[in-house]
Symmetry: C2
Subunit: 486 residues, 2 copies
């Protein structure tokens, strides 16, 4: 029995037509305006893409992106959100895999867009999202079981997988966040995270579901964020650790009183940063989330934010979380195991793979433990996952790229600590032909998003491996750390 609910944006437009919905550098839209715009974009989209089809989006944070995000479900179209930092080859893989019926790209990225998709329409975001004209698609009911978004998350195999998020995954996540953080009349959420990541996207959806203004910025700029916090009377902002560090550097005054939550996600935060924020009275709320959980899975409640430094809190109300030991049992308090999740916020699965039944657990691959009071501490993201400035880097993907170079016989990539970005990727390779580090880095740069390109490459006669030939990643990491250092 599927659940149908009124289109959330249309409902908030009916409830609060004049309330600001979206504030950007250029302009501001009320809920009524954003809803009308969404209807117009939905009408245009439905000319390009059949019901049940897919539209890929390649754009940075722009107001028009928001209209497309709300318009696609209104036209019964699933969104495929593309990371603008990917190379053409990486994008082409995701396009081939998700087979969208059309690609919407901001004008500056049209050339790339045309390069990566063949025989399907490519539309400029600016044209698609022109002001409302004659035709508007009316809002209909939202089917919570319908696929809403596809976002690629790289896996340990090195091949990115398209995680499917339903409308219900997003709805339940928004409600789970609401039950944790509360909701006030004056709430305004600042969105500086990319909208093609679930961390940014989920802010838009919360805005529409709660009837809450969202202030959208094209990129993170610490001085601009500091100005926004005050001038836009921001009450909640989502940041990753490197952004918060930069913000602190430009923010000498006390933080404004109305800022009630700095939602800090995108990987582990340095303890020193958390302590500095605690000393300055900044209400940092750590969260543990991921694409497959439609953003937050566990979040420290504001009341606990300063008392539980370093914890990612407790699971959101609709989410079950357990720590599974190597033999499949529930871990004891304090015992490290794999973090596993279940509930209506969790993705039903990946494109082209069998869906996970809702009663089955999603095994994150991340390691953590619960303390005696049930607070989650994340010990290590999926053993080999590297997180640099909130972007996930899967070593297997970088290793596969290095291995595709004729000179490289073996490759191992690990994350080393980086004071600014949290981690940086570093590679060790065994060569079979002569090659220089610069050549390999250029080779990677042509094939991988910049943030994935190793910051250092070390030549070794052999890589540490198990008897079965499996890379001893931990050992390699220790060794590289002693060589390359912090």
């Amino acid at each position: 029995m599927t659940t149908l609910i009124p289109d959330w944006l249309a409902r908030q437009a009916a409830l609060h037509p004049q309330r600001p919905a979206l504030i950007s550098a250029e302009t501001r839209y009320t809920f009524a305006e954003l809803d009308r715009w969404t209807g117009a974009v939905a009408a245009r989209l439905s000319q390009l893409v059949p019901k049940g089809g897919r539209v890929a989006v390649l754009a940075r944070n722009r107001p028009a992106y928001v209209a497309v995000v709300h318009a696609a479900p209104r036209a019964a179209i699933t969104l495929v959100l593309l990371n603008t930092r990917l190379t053409a080859a990486e994008l082409a893989f995701q396009i081939n895999d998700s087979a969208p019926d059309a690609l919407v790209a901001e004008r500056e990225l049209l050339a790339v867009a045309r390069e990566v998709i063949a025989q399907k329409p490519v539309i400029a975001l600016e044209d698609l999202a022109a002001p409302p004209g004659d035709e508007e698609l009316p809002a209909t009911l939202i089917d919570l079981s319908a696929p809403h978004t596809i976002i690629y998350t790289s896996g340990t195999t090195g091949r990115p997988k398209g995680a499917i998020l339903t409308a219900g995954n997003h709805w339940w996540n928004a409600i789970g966040s609401l039950l944790n953080l509360g909701l006030r009349d004056d709430d305004r959420w600042l969105a500086v995270l990319p909208l093609f990541h679930v961390g940014g996207l989920s802010i838009l959806l919360r805005g529409a579901i709660y009837g809450m203004p969202v202030v959208l910025r094209e990129r993170f700029d610490p001085s601009a964020v500091w100005r926004d916090l005050t001038e836009q009377r921001i009450t909640i902002v989502s940041l990753v650790a490197v952004m918060l560090q930069r913000l602190l550097a430009v923010a000498p005054e006390p933080f404004p009183h109305h800022l009630r939550c700095v939602l800090l996600g995108g990987g582990p935060a340095p303890q020193a940063l958390l302590e500095q924020c605690a000393q300055r009275g900044i209400p940092v709320t750590q969260t543990y989330g991921m694409t497959e959980a439609a953003s937050q899975a566990a979040t420290l409640s504001p009341a606990d934010a300063l008392r539980r430094l370093g914890s990612a809190g407790k699971p959101l109300a609709p989410v079950e979380l357990r720590i599974v030991t190597a033999n499949g049992q529930n871990a004891a308090p304090g015992e490290v195991g794999e973090i596993s999740l279940r509930g209506p916020t969790i993705s039903p699965g990946y494109l082209g793979m069998a869906p996970r039944p809702p009663t089955e657990w999603f095994h994150t691959g991340d390691l953590g433990y619960l303390d005696a009071e049930g607070y989650l501490y994340v010990v290590d993201r999926r053993s080999d996952l590297i997180i640099a400035g909130g972007e996930n880097i899967y070593p297997a993907e970088v290793e596969a790229t290095l291995l595709s170079h004729p000179a490289v016989a073996e490759a191992g990539v690990v994350g080393l600590p980086d004071p600014e970005w949290g981690q940086r990727p570093v590679a060790a390779v065994v060569t079979q032909q002569t090659v220089t580090v610069a050549e390999l880095i250029d080779y990677c740069r042509a094939r991988l998003a910049g943030y994935k390109v190793p910051k250092a490459i070390i030549f070794l006669p052999e890589l540490p491996r198990t008897a079965a030939g499996k890379l001893r990643r931990h050992e390699l990491r220790e060794w590289l750390m002693s060589r390359v250092g912090e």
Copy 2:
């Protein structure tokens, strides 16, 4: 595909074990304590009632009632909530119709309970809800499609019908209310409405779903409410109009600043009362609700409370509301029609009747219109429904009782305006044998809850009827009004 979510009370107990969950005259329970108590009551209930069975509850507002409400779903048992003001005959009808596996009654009502149920266990609430012992039933997942509560609502046929409310109906209603009213750290909801009505019950469920303290009182006492508002730092209170009037009479001082919402339901409110509250700056939020909608269906948002006096606001976010004209079309703005509802808060149907598919509209029988901006104005509750002090009285039920008296040939019951209770029931009868008004009133009193007994009975030679013999209720009402007056 059914949706499973963690047991809401257990989850809030895990999140906020030490937060007060339930404050009553005798004691206060933290979320951890209420959760443990619930587990113990669930273990005892599961000894009496099989999984999938039903337990009826006959009790006034007591802390133990709260434990039973949360325990029943934990034991996969559906609650049948009985109105303590009903007569034994009325209760017996509901017991026969709902066929519970056991009846839980507070000690003072045990004699009545034993009278109305045969061959099934009758347990004292006080014994069932004794402090936790050895055994506690652990919390499991809540299946949102599972029946949670059965509450009888009398129909136009004169036979009460058991409205089934699923766990999901309650959950979605709580979330819809949350999206409208917001949620603050310091929220505390005062419950003086009976827990056997959906208006009182829904407060308990919101408390458990939000992790919000509920202050429970056994009955409405205006001076006690006034004291609670201040001393208990109540932020939200649910009242019906007659209660609010009595509260104003004892509340000379300005209302406390932290009181942010007086949720006013249970039928239409007199305009003079709303204006008086507006003048005194009391944040009255009118709501239009009913059992079948799991309480609120439309509610005025706090921001509009003083600007839209007399409106019941806009539908809750998960609810669709339309006004249907006599020919089945959507009414134009300002045009009166039947209020119809759809969405995940709406009951799937009544016991013993075919369930309503979720895509079909629930026709409330109430008349209203939407203004040009979509605000609901309720013109008349189900043409013949009488609401006295928040209690629904169905004329057909009172008429059927009068007609069962051998002296009565015809009977018509209408609601006349009452300055204190909103309405009072008045009857007109055509007799076929000699009988006195006092005799008829005694006869009703023995068979009907006190609030349903006609406050006046007029003897007429005939009742106004249509050619088809249908009572012209409106005409009778006008005539009685001129005779009996206000």
